[in-house]
Amino acid sequence: MIIYFTDIALSLMLILTAMVIAVQRNLLGAVMLSGIYSLLCASLFVCLDAVDVAFTEAAVGGGVATILFLGTLAQTDYEKKSRVGISWSGLFLVIICGSLLVYGLSDIPGFGLADNPVQTYLADVYLVQSQKDIAVPNLVTAVLASYRGYDTLGETTVIFTAGIAVLILLGRGKADSDTVESKES
Amino acid sequence: MNDPVYLIACCLLILGAVFVLIGLLGVFRMPDFFTRLHAASIIDSMGTLLIMLGLMLMSGINLITVKLFLILLFILITTPTAAHALAKSALHGKLKPKLGDDKS
């Protein structure tokens, strides 16, 4: 009961955040709100048991994307030109895309059901075949490092990049920070 | 369910959540940015401390307690640093605190 309520509340807050971002005129505020959007998204992913996706969302959406947006805004103007009226063609396109997405939802199987396509055939194959294919004793290792090897490589690249970013942020060179200080003063 | 430790843990959890709400109320009610920052620090100190203590009591002594303790430690170290950086940056950015004698 409370779990369903949490899912619904988080989704509603997600929609609310998106609407607030859409009406923001100040782009800096929109960037900050998009950070909140990523955090909400990540919470929702945690609720849906997709912890690795949640982790990536928080690192990339909340961390890296915010900084990239700010870097872009430093190069340009960050006050949106106020425009009166609604762009009717844009509204039309958005409505078409939205109804297509809603229509596509009807094909999605129910959440977490035992007879979903994803659970019916692949797990057995992994259980039976992995010893013959790879001969790694641990099944999880076999799946992660061999069957989904490229996926894991991509994930470790993301984590590695995040580590480098943290080192760059925290370990500024002494001479570099001095020049910045003198420019500031 | 009627375990006294569980009851104490529940009280701590709800008290912590109430402190989070109080901090947010302060963010809404305070007149300028620096006082809002001050109100927000209640969330990071009291709210986090009480909720994490409640969860620690609820979990008993195991690996989860260690993780909760680490979260608490990190938050107690990082959020005052972030608040300090925020205040310093706001002061650099010509955002003056509202003083007692200017009644604007």
């Binding site: 807050m13 900050m32 709100l33 955090l39 909400l40 945690v46 | -």
Partner: protein, 96 residues
């Protein structure tokens, strides 16, 4: 009772969202995002106990660090980056 705590935390999430939406200066918005990060950490920690599987606490731990790094990075940008001074001046001009 843990469920009640989750409800209160969801309510505070909503309030933090509103304070980010109506924040006057850009620093208010950064503060709101910072608060939101802390509340998200609390939410994930408590939610594990609601579902009875408190195994995702590592994620909460990592979130605490990410939120800290983001705030520090954004603030370093504001203080030393190109838009350090001009941003707040223009910001105040707009808001007053």
């Amino acid at each position: 009772m843990v469920e009640f705590t989750i409800l209160l935390i969801l309510l505070s999430m909503l309030l933090a969202l509103i304070s980010a939406a109506i924040g006057e200066t850009v620093y208010d918005k950064i503060l709101a995002v910072n608060i939101f990060g802390t509340i998200t950490v609390l939410f994930i920690a408590v939610y594990g106990f609601v579902t009875g599987r408190p195994d995702f606490l590592d994620i909460a731990l990592v979130y605490a660090l990410i939120s800290f790094v983001t705030t520090i990075a954004v603030l370093k940008f504001f203080e030393y980056g190109d838009m350090g001074k001009s941003s707040t001046d223009r910001e105040q001009d707009i808001d007053i």
